[in-house]
Symmetry: C2
Subunit: 323 residues, 2 copies
């Protein structure tokens, strides 16, 4: 069974932990390919940081700080303190010593001309995440945010808006800088084509999954496949993070149904919403919606959610075959 998952950071990584657990109980030889968001990658102190790829890698590799959901466990911050002593900017993005090593290895390999996908495979050789993790593209894509500032409209890097300003500056839109010229990384389209199921975890639909879909060729490759998503919105709030600020910026209501409609019935075949959102079951034309508990309390509840997504995908495929 070949599953492809489009994943952002924390939400995607936790969902993947559950999916990996769900699939490990199966009898068939399963294979999970993760297409990771690189839109919120950023260069800090001359080092290339890929927050979403690393969150997936650290989480599945057992190196994550499980409490905060990002960064390394047992982390120290000596390098950061020293950089601050030199007055190095920015100081609003926290990188730990263990994490720095990852960025140092990555930056050196990139500088030597190694594509990001190969670098990611090299880093994963250490972490053994149990999935194949491929960046959406080897080309530089950076999500920028349009905001109003006192001095007039301006555009800033997604991380500056998200981390430095806590998404509190009102955003008017996003721009995937470089996406138009980006090509899917080697393996991305082949994995999609070979996939039995495509899953969209409860990642940020705008800047995580939206960023992946902005790479020319990926969305169209997904259209003929069975795509099942898990709503990142429960009630009128994101399960975690600040996805509401992103949805607001693009004029999409913060609700499970609105996110499904935003993905569109051409892309989205199935959609899991939380039990509390049962009311939206018939409000997403062209997409089959099921309700169940969606909070990812721990790996075993998350595995059940992942299994429910897979089950929905099977049912949709059987329907198709019977049609």
């Amino acid at each position: 069974m070949r599953t492809v998952v489009l994943a952002g950071g924390i939400g995607g990584a936790r969902f993947l932990e559950g999916l990996r657990a769900a699939m490990a109980t199966g009898t068939t030889r399963d294979q999970i390919t993760v297409i990771g968001n690189t839109g919120d990658d950023i260069t800090l102190f001359g080092l290339r940081v890929c927050p979403d790829l690393d969150t997936v890698m650290y989480t599945l590799g057992g190196g994550i700080n499980t409490e905060q959901g990002w960064g390394r466990a047992a982390e120290t911050f000596t390098v950061r303190e020293e950089l601050a002593a030199y007055g190095a900017q920015p100081q609003w993005f926290t990188l730990g010593d263990r994490d720095f090593a990852t960025h140092i290895v990555r930056t050196r390999m990139l500088a030597e001309g190694t594509p990001l996908s190969t670098v990611t495979a090299h880093l994963c050789a250490r972490w053994q995440p149990g999935v194949e993790l491929i960046p959406m593209t080897d080309d530089p894509v950076e999500t920028h945010v349009r905001v109003s500032a006192d001095t007039g409209p301006r555009e800033l890097h997604f991380q500056e808006w998200w981390v430095r300003h806590g998404a509190r500056l009102t955003a008017h839109g996003f721009r995937s800088v470089g996406a138009d010229e980006a090509r899917p990384a080697p393996g991305v389209l082949a994995a999609i084509e070979a996939a039995d199921v495509i899953l969209l975890p409860p990642s940020n639909p705008v800047v995580s999954i939206g960023s992946i879909l902005s790479v020319p060729g990926i969305r169209s490759a997904l259209l003929p496949k069975t795509v099942v998503g898990v709503s990142p919105i429960i009630g009128n709030a994101p399960v975690r993070g600040m996805a509401d600020a992103c949805l607001r910026a693009i004029g999409v209501e913060t609700s499970a149904a609105a996110v499904a409609r935003h993905y569109g019935p051409d892309l989205l075949d199935g959609w899991l919403v939380d039990d509390s959102d049962r009311g939206v079951l018939d409000t997403v034309p062209g997409t089959t919606v099921r309700a169940r508990p969606l909070y990812m309390h721990d790996t075993s509840t998350t595995a059940e959610i992942a299994q429910a997504a897979l089950d929905l995908a099977w049912d949709l495929q059987k329907e198709k075959e019977n049609r």
Copy 2:
């Protein structure tokens, strides 16, 4: 009083501590300019490391690991352990977490096109070493070592020979790669011209001071000045380090007199040797040799050595004036 010091790493840094202390007791407004060796700079993990500049900066800035003489005090090694976990090479060069921050700041500034001399001034703005520290050149110069290996002659980076092999591979010579095209960094020639005295601390005469002298224009600028050196050799052994291996490689005897003759009477006006080397007083034609205790036990004994070097320089200048 303007003093220019040509300095390598540990020996140079310790001498400078003494010189700074000696000059601080004077009544005149004194100024020390240090021309630092960059010949053993090396790029590790994509980061530019300048061991000698940093040893001078950390030592005079109070950040040095005083016991080992290099690296930062209260250092930790998390980044290094993590790099090793990724299999990153080389693992024979020890960089601590605090030290990494220096190289990260430097590498970013260099990548942005900032010359090394400006980068060094920026780093020193934090450390306030009390001297002006200028790299010998802003251009890349790397000291390579010619050795015989099982597979035939080969050339390796000085640090690989020095640190990895502990200078145990027999060296047949050194090559200052890039020196021919290098220009003295801004401020180097002006400082030499304005200097009242030039001091050569007991740094490695071959790969530290020799490397500085290999930059076209520096040696010739020094010739008209009063240059006084402190022997790095006591008896037939280096005060510290493995300078004997370097001297052997270029066919110079490991003795205070041989090093003075290697510098040459055109460059070297005065030479301090240890009391135990009194026998060589008249064996260096064209250079005035004085004997005194030369072990740098602590800052106060080192200040006395530095003061003796300055005194010798004054005496030589008075002689010149009276001639």
